[in-house]
């Protein structure tokens, strides 16, 4: 695999970068959906995230990246109790992947050669405690989408097939990207993403030239380029680690909760997931900024990210959903 482009070297696209950092601080926000035209750096940002995230501690050899030996499932038949550090897993879910590859299935090799019934873990196991990235998520096949929805909600992967009966933890942050011109996303899956971002190409000439220049110098010398950006990368990483600690102590005042609720009511977003995500995202942002408390500014900064994909679709309103959120923001917080 080629070296990833450094996250901090991505020009502009602040909303997308911010959304990804927020989920890195608080995984319970529940994933990011990045929608936009081709060539806007969607996939680049996701792959860059892998290099940015701090390492996690796992039981050596555990197929589901368990944090402690007690969590290692029986079927893994793991003897070792050694802990080791590894980069946060970012697992690519390719389109056209088969169901057994996602959930895991009977280990055919062992079944055929040794006549044993054993479980071969799939991508969901690998993605536990990390990220699951789906490029072109709007082209994903229905039955895989159903399966992901189910697992994302329960945090557990249940395999009942081929005479196997296995369950294991599968908590991951879903990151999806796609181009809305190639088809829309199913509402149920849309709702499952905590934050959504629409990206466009930068319109500013200086930014455009800078993008091209950085990409070119990265392509010509990936190692050197990564080295030049190493400082910036570790700066962001440190801030994320500090913010992860800080969110534990940041309490939301009644006022902030009311603000969130008022926004969601005004926008008519379905369900309560909107409020929850809004609150968590605002808290993560406050922590990242090193603020002592969550303020109105934090809530309104993350509102477009957290709410724009939860609006009732009104096909006759030509304004983009992010614009609608901002309109309501201006009303509610006036």
């Amino acid at each position: 695999m080629a070296k990833a482009f450094p996250f901090s070297a991505i020009v502009g696209q602040d909303a997308m970068k911010q959304a990804m950092i927020l989920t890195a601080i608080d995984p319970t926000i529940g994933g990011v959906l990045v929608f936009g035209d081709r060539g806007t750096g969607k996939s680049t940002a996701v792959r860059a995230l892998a290099g940015l995230l701090p390492q996690i501690e796992v039981v050596d050899g555990c197929p589901i990246n368990s944090a402690s030996p007690g969590d290692v499932p029986d079927w893994a038949e793991l003897g070792s109790k050694k802990l080791r550090k590894r980069p946060t897993p970012v697992v690519d879910l390719p389109l056209g992947v088969s169901q057994d590859r996602v959930t895991g299935a009977l280990d055919i090799e062992r079944a055929l050669s040794r006549g044993e019934k054993a479980f071969e873990p799939g991508l969901l196991a690998q993605a536990n405690r990390g990220y699951l990235y789906i490029d072109e998520v709007n082209l994903l096949e229905d039955h895989i989408v159903d399966l992901l929805l189910d697992v994302a909600q329960s945090g557990e992967n249940v395999v009942e097939r081929d005479g196997l009966s296995i369950r294991h933890a599968a908590r991951f942050v879903l990151v999806g990207s796609g181009n809305p011109e190639e088809g829309d996303l199913r509402p149920q899956l849309l709702d499952r993403f905590g934050l959504s971002v629409e990206v466009t190409s930068p319109t500013n000439m200086a930014d455009r030239v800078e993008v091209i220049r950085r990409r070119d110098s990265f392509d010509r010398d990936p190692e050197g380029f990564a080295k030049r950006w190493a400082r910036a990368e570790s700066g962001v990483r440190k801030k994320i680690v500090a913010a992860r600690e800080a969110i534990k102590t940041l309490d939301a005042g009644t006022e902030v909760l009311e603000d969130c609720a008022r926004l969601c009511i005004a926008l008519g977003s379905d369900g309560l997931r909107g409020e929850l995500t809004l609150l968590r995202a605002a808290r993560a942002l406050a922590a990242y900024d090193g603020a002592k408390a969550i303020s109105k500014a934090h809530v309104s900064a993350v509102a477009p990210l957290a709410l724009s994909h939860r609006l009732r679709r009104d096909p006759l309103d030509d304004a983009g959903s992010a614009t609608r959120v901002e309109r309501v923001l201006a009303d509610v917080f006036a």
């Binding site: 081709r38 055929l112 490029d135 809305p180 088809g183 000439m205 455009r208 993008v211 679709r313």
Partner: protein, 538 residues
């Protein structure tokens, strides 16, 4: 010498020297140019493998090789075609499955894909290459117009002159002025310039721009720029200072822009330019319309069956069927090792398939009420699309007025695309009802050929007064309309006639009867009502 053919050779040379560029798209049909181009590609890449466009995902990504696994009694995995590292040539690449295309695009992003040559042989406007691949392949060469005597010349050589200061800015500025919104194109052009010459000169940068930017151009640089003595790109407003600082580059910008304009397809130069995103000379259809209809499948229980080369074997079910008999078979075939499988054990996978529906709206855009009606239909199209996911509907829109019918929206499932295309709707003029029905039928037949289930929805408030040949003959027009209506019935296409006139008209009801279609009088049709009827009509 700089012709389409030498530019193709140059691009080929660049891919050979710098495989990380990705590859190229060739637009051509079998003929002398085809033979010569393939010969040139094979000479540059002796290792090249030809793939059919009907590749399955399993072929691409590899997986368990069921035949070898059964033969050897242990799991044998096949390497995916992508991982084998041979350069790849895919003829008829417009037929590539969108998912397969996405998989290839992922491999290209990861830097693991070999050089790729796609041949685009599209005959119809709605057949286009997967946008994800088009965007990632830097070079698009159109060789479809070349004849035998055009096939001379050599690839461009690096220019030994003085290197230019800032090729990145030049190429970015040029890309914007030719209306290329994405940033991949200028990145690719810069990479191509560097591949051509490590320290690119103005000639190299120009060549790179001609190769990468020209085929992607959607507009000519604004004409007022040509008049002003020191042209400044329009989009540069926010960044004037920088533009002026780089005063010495501006001649190079002009040079590049002129050179790119010189090789633009004539179509772009003569035709009025399409407002947004339309690629030169090609229909713009997202993958929504091109996907094969029966593409989704939910797995059903496996079934005993024979391997006919089409069905996929369900390995586990097959083994399970074989297991109880092993002891008896072992006695029967004492010299055989491993699991003993007999043909009757073979179980094949079954998928439940459902066809997508295409709603072909055929709308009367004539007369005074046209604007209101078109507006409501636009609303209905968007409402249908907003729920398209649940209903598996594609939507197409044809308007007829004056002397013919016009396709306003090719079949799509994308709300975003529909909104863009429906932003302006023309109206007014006579009523060529027959031409409208014919266009709707054509679209329906072509959709059915692609495995979709078409349904034609005709909205009109009047009688036809324009015959199919464009003449204003009321009697002829009525006869033509009836004839077309009957051929819809004969082609067994589902249809629906919505009468938006102030009071129901006998003639339209008769026409609906000829069409074998339900007739719904709906004065002042509202978007919501239309969409509700369509849900019911399902």
């Amino acid at each position: 010498m700089n012709t389409p053919w030498t530019r193709f050779l140059t691009a080929l040379d660049l891919v050979a020297r710098a495989p990380h560029l990705g590859g190229m798209v060739l637009t051509m049909r079998p003929g002398p140019a085809w033979d010569a181009a393939l010969a040139a590609i094979e000479a540059a890449f002796p290792e090249i493998r030809r793939w059919p466009a009907s590749l399955s995902l399993r072929d691409l990504s590899g997986g368990l090789d069921s035949v070898a696994t059964l033969a050897e009694g242990r799991a044998v995995y096949s390497t995916g075609l992508l991982a084998r590292g041979h350069p790849i040539l895919i003829p008829s690449a417009e037929r590539l499955d969108p998912q397969a295309a996405a998989l290839i695009a992922q491999a290209m992003d990861a830097g693991t894909a070999p050089p790729l040559f796609l041949i685009d042989e599209a005959a119809e406007a709605e057949e286009t290459l997967a946008p994800a691949l088009l965007d990632r392949l830097p070079f698009w060469c159109d060789l479809s117009e070349l004849s035998l005597r055009d096939l001379t010349g050599h690839a461009a050589a690096p220019d030994p002159g003085a290197p230019v200061q800032d090729p990145a800015t030049t190429l970015t500025v040029s890309a914007l002025r030719f209306g290329i919104p994405g940033l991949r194109a200028p990145t690719q052009a810069l990479a191509a310039a560097h591949a051509l010459n490590d320290m690119p000169t103005d000639t190299d940068v120009t060549m790179a721009a001609q190769l990468v930017l020209a085929p992607r151009a959607t507009q000519l640089p604004a004409p007022e720029d040509e008049d002003s003595p020191q042209p400044e790109p329009q989009q540069q407003t926010s960044d004037d200072a920088e533009g002026q600082n780089r005063g010495q580059d501006i001649p190079l910008d002009d040079l590049v822009i002129e050179a790119v304009a010189a090789v633009l397809p004539d179509l772009l130069k003569n035709a009025p330019l399409k407002p947004n995103g339309a690629r030169g000379g090609k229909g713009f259809s997202g993958s929504g319309s091109r996907r094969r209809g029966n593409r989704r499948g939910r797995p059903l229980p496996a079934q005993q069956g024979a391997l006919d080369g089409q069905a996929r074997i369900d390995l586990v079910a097959t083994l399970r069927a074989a297991v109880p008999w092993q002891k008896m078979r072992r006695a029967q075939f004492p010299d055989r090792q491993g699991v003993i499988l007999l043909p009757r054990d073979i179980h094949v996978q079954r998928m439940e398939e459902r066809s997508d529906r295409v709603l072909v709206f055929t709308v009367d855009a004539s007369g005074s009420s046209a604007m209101a009606r078109l507006g409501e239909v636009k609303g209905a199209v968007e409402l249908v699309l907003a729920q398209a996911y649940a209903r598996r509907d594609h939507v197409a829109l044809i308007a007829f007025r004056r002397d013919g019918a016009e396709m306003l929206l090719p079949p799509t499932r994308s709300l975003v695309q529909a909104k863009r295309r429906l932003a302006s709707l023309p109206g007014g003029g006579g009523t060529p009802l027959a031409a409208g029905i014919e266009a709707g039928m054509r679209q329906a037949v072509s959709a059915r050929a692609r495995g979709l289930t078409p349904q034609v929805i005709l909205l009109t408030d009047g009688r036809g007064n324009i015959a199919i040949d464009g003449s204003a003959n009321r009697q002829q027009a009525a006869d033509d309309a009836v004839r077309m209506a009957r051929s819809i019935a004969q082609s067994d296409i589902d249809a629906l006639v919505i009468d938006t006139g102030a009071r129901p008209q006998r003639q339209l009801a008769d026409l609906a009867h000829d069409m074998g279609a339900p007739y719904v009088p709906l004065p002042r049709a509202r978007a919501g009502q239309i969409s509700d009827i369509l849900t019911g009509a399902r």
